[in-house]
Subunit: 248 residues, 2 copies
DNA sequence: CGTAGGGTTGAAGAGTATCAAAGGCGGTGG
DNA sequence: CCACCGCCTTTGATACTCTTCAACCCTACG
């Protein structure tokens, strides 16, 4: 199964043949519509590690879909506080929060050497006029992003440190499966300090929790690679230690 | 100014004459387009206090715009954890997170006696096909919702209890201004326990912080009514006590 | 081989949660 | 109209998780 699922990450220069299209913009479109879509996509733009794809405040010109690699998005408020909003992997779409006022509300940075497909919004907008199925898919993806953030709010708000780390590992594992990869060796391509920022913890606490989970035989940590040894234990730790579902 | 701004909350049975239309779906539409829109809107459906407008998992049939009153949205995860996602006021649109899979991902409950405008999604969808400006506005509103949640993530993730309460009060005040009301007497129509849940605190902590802010002359609390006495102090407390914008 | 950045581990302290009890406020019924 | 009751809120004392500060370790890389 390992070899077979690796094959799924074979990429193509066209959306029609891209193995990730069912996660991405083309999902739900007819063959003809996908052909129209792929005419305006520039595939394979490279982004170097630590380079910005777009910055908070930049004018919205393109949406981006990740082909391979990984990225993070960060928002900085007026007090200089910095919060990582999410980590993104192949098939994920970036830039959707820019429709509000035609400006990006966060900064996107590559966690490793990454390639993205670039989709100009003005041409996309004209195509959306013609293709209701494309409009539906974009709204589905925005709605999806909303739901994902709601889930994150729940995790950060109601779980303790062990619950947060466990939830994150399970989520990353599940997302690997959705891309057709093996669920188990999760690659933490971000630094401990980035994990901590994302989960609203301190990096020392992240380290301690990972150590504890390893000591108890739930996971195995080897630098950035994390093997999930006992999925069930991880699941139970992701809910235990959570705060009571208190009174109305 | 109090009287004048009160007038702005005069409501009408039609979107064209509704004083909140610049916050709501009609924004950016031509007069003719608004007329088309208002033909499919049922204005003024009443929702009793504590009644559900829609429930998590329900099929998405309508979007809702609040006319007067207030609501909260709640999400419950598989472990029974409950998280309040937001509080909503006149002009706010509810149900946008249901486009992902045609089901609501949260439950909407009235905090007081509330009236909402009901907008059937199937008819809205057909109208969106005809009116690009309406599509733009819906995407703007979804994008806006995304940005709002990102801001909430930042507040919950990086601020201590005093910072969270202060931020919330300032936000509620700002939203009153956007609706043309006086910024100062903020009405906390939700219970302390709901505030606590929303801000990921315990209700005792909420109470202590409010007491402290009142003792220091920043606000005055009288049951559900909160006067903001020193806006600048509130602003500084909303950022002080926040965690460091730590290393990359 | 030596340095630097990231990661781990340890001890002390702050901020909240938790448990417990008392204090208002509104609603109901006598 | 007043008294009682229940729910929400406030206040206090204690416990615990996580942060903070500090030192050390490891791995990558010139």
């Amino acid at each position: 199964m390992g070899a077979a699922s690796q094959q799924l990450e074979q990429l193509s220069e066209t959306c029609s043949h891209c193995s990730l299209n069912y996660l991405c913009l083309p999902y739900g479109l007819s063959q003809d519509d996908v052909s129209e879509l792929e005419r305006l996509v520039s595939p394979g733009t490279p982004v170097a590690m630590n380079a910005e794809l777009f910055g908070q405040g930049d004018t919205l010109t393109d949406l981006y879909a990740i082909r391979d690699g990984s990225m993070k998005t960060v928002v900085v408020d007026e007090d200089g506080l910095e919060q990582i909003l999410g980590f993104y992997y192949p098939g994920d779409l970036l830039g959707l929060d820019g429709f509000a006022d035609q400006h990006h509300h966060c900064t996107a940075v590559a966690l490793e050497s990454t390639r993205v497909c670039r989709i100009p919004v003005d041409r996309l907008d004209r195509l959306v006029d013609k293709l209701p199925s494309l409009r539906h898919q974009i709204m589905r993806l925005m709605s999806q992003a909303l739901s994902d953030e709601e889930r994150l709010l729940l995790t950060l708000g109601r779980k303790n440190s062990e619950g947060r780390i466990s939830s994150l590992l399970l989520t990353l594992s599940r997302r690997r499966e959705m891309r057709g990869l093996d669920p188990s060796p999760v690659s933490l391509s971000m630094k401990r300090s980035e994990l901590a920022n994302f989960l609203s913890m301190r990096l020392e606490t992240v380290s301690r929790v990972l150590t504890r989970l390893q000591r108890d035989g739930v996971i195995r940590v080897r630098q950035s690679r994390v093997d999930i040894l006992d999925r069930e234990a991880l699941r139970s730790r992701s809910s235990r230690g959570a705060w009571a579902a208190d009174q109305s």
